[in-house]
């Protein structure tokens, strides 16, 4: 029963990971840019929601406006920062996204300070009991909202004309250019979508765990997720996110206490610390070594 409880908590957090990882994969597929700043967008989205709620708006309305604002932020970063860097070395592009992350963090730190803030209630408080498992509305809402969004997004990507153009751009930029797709605009759209997804994910996460600048660390957790799923697979990102969320919850709730019991018996080490935070990375290294293209990714061949 306890296990199931943990799994559900894991799925809730994992579905938020999925939202954020989706954004990273989207941008990567479209433009080959690895966006280390994704966690920054998540954090910013949460802070926008917080600020709007503080200003007296209903939290849900605040969230909606915040997500739209995030879209604008995404477009701006792509146009102002990434577009001039088309020909820059890969390391420089990675670095510029890290620069964006640092700047966003610093801005939030400057305005809202380093302390944990009470995030406004997005959903009514309350608990459902189902056969001995307790679920807060918050968790249920997070799971539902993220899964609906993920599904909607995947459907959009798969079935709409815009989604088709996005896939074209991602598949082969030159061919897309040749058939008259405005690639540059498609990339901007990818950034907008991905910033919106991240902003929403950030707000959901804040409603589960509270809000502070450290929320931005989630962007780094998303990397194990996408590597697990395969850098280029949107479905992989979603599955990877959920798997990782569950794994973390199980580690925290069961594996850590078990290991600590053993360690205390035989060694002088008293605690293994935040094991659940390292697990994703250990898993990542393992996956990369065994199956570098990820679970859902495809192998790319090269020509001499």
């Amino acid at each position: 029963m306890f296990t199931l409880q943990l799994v559900i908590a894991g799925v809730a957090v994992g579905s938020v990971y999925a939202l954020i990882a989706l954004g990273i994969v989207l941008i990567y597929k479209c433009s080959g840019v690895v966006n280390f700043a994704q966690g920054g967008y998540a954090m910013l989205g949460a802070f926008f929601t917080y600020a709007l709620a503080q200003a007296g708006l209903h939290p849900a309305l605040g969230l909606l406006i915040a997500v739209v604002l995030m879209g604008a932020v995404g477009a701006l970063t792509q146009i102002l920062i990434l577009r001039p860097m088309l020909k820059a070395p890969v390391v420089a592009v990675m670095m510029v996204t890290l620069g964006i992350l640092i700047t966003f963090r610093a801005v939030c730190l400057f305005i809202w300070g380093p302390d944990q803030l009470a995030f406004p209630q997005l959903f009514p408080a309350g608990v459902i009991e189902l056969g001995g498992i307790f679920m807060t509305y918050n968790y249920i809402a997070a799971v539902l909202l993220s899964s609906v969004l993920c599904a909607a997004f995947l459907a959009f990507y798969r079935y709409t004309p815009l989604g088709l153009m996005q896939r074209c751009t991602a598949d082969n930029t030159r061919a897309a250019l040749a058939i008259g797709i405005d690639v540059s605009r498609q990339v901007t759209i990818a950034w907008v979508a991905s910033a919106m997804l991240a902003g929403l994910g950030g707000a959901l996460l804040a409603s589960l765990n509270g809000l502070s600048v450290n929320l931005s660390n989630i962007g780094l957790v998303a990397f194990p997720v996408i590597v697990l799923g395969g850098m280029t697979s949107l479905v992989g990102a979603v599955v990877g996110g959920v798997v990782l969320g569950v794994l973390q919850a199980l580690t925290d709730g069961m594996l850590t206490p078990a290991i600590e019991r053993v360690l205390r018996e035989y060694t002088e080490i008293y605690s293994v610390g935040a094991l659940q935070q390292v697990i994703p990375y250990a898993l990542l290294v393992l996956v990369l070594l065994v199956r570098p293209q990820g679970i859902f990714g495809t192998r790319e061949s090269e020509r001499v």
Binding site: K87, V90, L98, I102, T103, L220, F223, V227, Y281, V285
Partner: protein, 342 residues
Amino acid sequence: MTLRQILILLAVAACILLLLPGLGRYSAYIVYVVAIASIGALALNLLIGYCGQISFAHGGLLGVGAYAAGNFGNAGQDMVVALAGAGFVTALISVMIGLPALRLRGLYFAIATLAAQFILEYLFRLLEPLTHGVSGLLIEPAPFLGFGVSTDRGYAAVSIILLVLSLIGVSRLLRTDLGRRFILIRDSEMVARGMGINVARTKFWAFAISGFLAGIAGGLLAFTTRIAAPEAFEIALSVDYVAMIIVGGLGSLPGAVIGAFFVVLLPEVVQRLGEYFNAATQTSAIREMIFGLLIILFMIYEPRGLNSLASRLWRRWRGAGTKPAKTPSGAMDLRPSSEPAE
């Protein structure tokens, strides 16, 4: 590096060493902080700028060096022995981090190093017998070749000497078969393999040598700050070092020093300004903001670094527009060709 350049370097170093006794404590502090960061940046530049292996685990590696040197020093070893020991230990860890690089390339490898960084951070907190966990390992002063150097000036002298040795060492290394293979692998791993180069072995040496230097830099950090604590070696430090070598110039030896100078001095300057304007409470946020914005601006306008900018200005000043523009040595080009991989 030609003989002439080595002589100039030695002369500059000698001047700094001669001036040291006249420097105030703060200036001496700046000298050694920059010199240590330069050694660390040099190590990372060897790996990223010359061998093309993007790593975000450098902060953790400096930490390994710091803890190793601290433990050796506390066991009563001379600083030279402790630093050398730290170098070897860190080289070992660096090679382990490099293992995925045998199968992964570019981006995927960079992400694997990110994982390595977090695992190292975790181990620093976990392995209390070696690291004293969150409280940090206190480090006793150690003599350098028998001389007591536990003053700011002493540290400055030691760091300058080691920096000069590292600079000469790396520049010579780049003129050997091994060094040329580094550059070839950076430019195209596939071509290098086709030419019959043992890519795995070459990368092994890149990680080992870079790790050795990182260990020395980390050890110096430990001896000068007298403490090695986990929060000093987090991912932020890795980012600082990557920033240094990009700001200075990828694949450029002077670039490593220029970048270290820039990234280390920036917070000092902002700190001063903050004190001046009585805004000390917000300085850390402002400092981060300026750092972030500068990185962004830098990457957009000068992705090849200050060193390339400097040589361009130098050429313009000399009016040498007649010469065919030879790409500044070291300007590297990691276009998206280094994509996913295998």
